[in-house]
Point group: C2
Chain length 208, copies 2
């Protein structure tokens, strides 16, 4: 068996092995994370459970993601990168920048509210993260800002046409959105209140 394995590796094996097996492990880990988070939220994402479901050893899981927070922030980052790719590839409907920004924010919010436990898990992790996760946090922030600036413009944007002020505005809007999301996740506010709050904020900030 060992020899057979080594044979197959030496032929076609070399292609899918090496870093490819590692990509596969990483994917299995993130998939397991999503599945567990979707079912039971933050508390259900237990490192032993993730390792078991992903069929890796606990030590391996920790080699790939140095902590539960890193793991969940990576998952959140991936979701945001994908969302940003989807949203930024097309035109955003709406006549004013406020309308367009609200369109994407509500779309994002609806998407996350469709998976409450998953959202709770990812959001709690993001909020709890400290500076050791700064890379992931920064990446999420970049995606968020990109989504909002893109919506402000309404279509594909040349990066050079975005002013510092617009980035600052996008960051403020991102802050409000995040706070609203946290409020919803922690059961402080209901979905409609979240939407209304975002309406208020965006219309206050973008009045053109």
């Amino acid at each position: 068996m060992t020899t057979a394995n080594q044979l197959s590796e030496s032929t076609a094996g070399t292609a899918d092995n090496g870093s490819s097996a590692q990509r596969d492990r990483r994917k299995r880990i993130l998939d397991a994370t999503y599945a567990l988070a979707k079912e039971g939220g933050f508390d259900a994402v237990q490192m032993r459970a993730v390792a078991e479901k992903a069929e890796v050893a606990l030590g391996t899981l920790y080699r790939y993601f140095p902590s539960k927070i890193h793991l969940l922030v990576s998952a959140l980052d991936q979701q945001f990168v994908e969302a940003a790719q989807r949203l930024n590839a097309r035109e955003i409907p709406g006549d004013t920048s406020a309308d367009r920004v609200l369109y994407v924010l509500k779309r994002l919010t609806r998407g996350m509210q469709g998976d409450p436990k998953l959202t709770e898990a990812l959001t709690r992790a993001f909020m709890f993260a400290d500076s050791s996760v700064s890379e992931g946090i920064h990446s999420v922030g970049m995606s968020m800002t990109a989504i909002v600036t893109h919506a402000m413009h309404g279509g594909p944007v040349d990066e050079s046409t975005i002013t510092d002020e617009q980035i600052a505005i996008a960051r403020v809007i991102g802050d409000v959105w995040l706070s609203a999301l946290v409020g919803w996740v922690t059961g402080r506010s209901k979905a409609e209140e979240t939407a209304a709050h975002m309406d208020t904020a965006v219309h206050l900030i973008l009045r053109d």
Copy 2:
């Protein structure tokens, strides 16, 4: 020494006992929490350490505060109530509402940045809190909103003169402030960036 204590308790002691002894325990617990948080931040606030420093049993600590998060959010709440009392008792300097709001926000921020570890502990707890702590979270939000609406008006306010829109505005500003604080606590942004971000946000929202 022990006998002396028991004597003083049996004379004047009966008066300060009963629920008074409980108030005292509660105070000792919160004092221990502040002390530990000030030294070592969130991680240093360990329930066993709090119990020992407050001279109560672990079970008693849990009777008063059902979780570490409850404990720290209560501490944060107390700080906010005190800050709101101090700030709302006097006139806020500044010619425009934006100036006044920025004055109090920067004052608050400076105060918290003067005790980085304590701030880190309280903020992390607040961000991590779930719906079981909704009471404390709500209380903190009320204090925050009161501080901001008071600053918007510039002096003592009759509650009835505050419109819903003003409350909504105050909440948005509170959101931004909280996000900025979290960014600073988690080492994502420096103090000056935090201040600049708040400047941007408040001037965007309050342009009168």
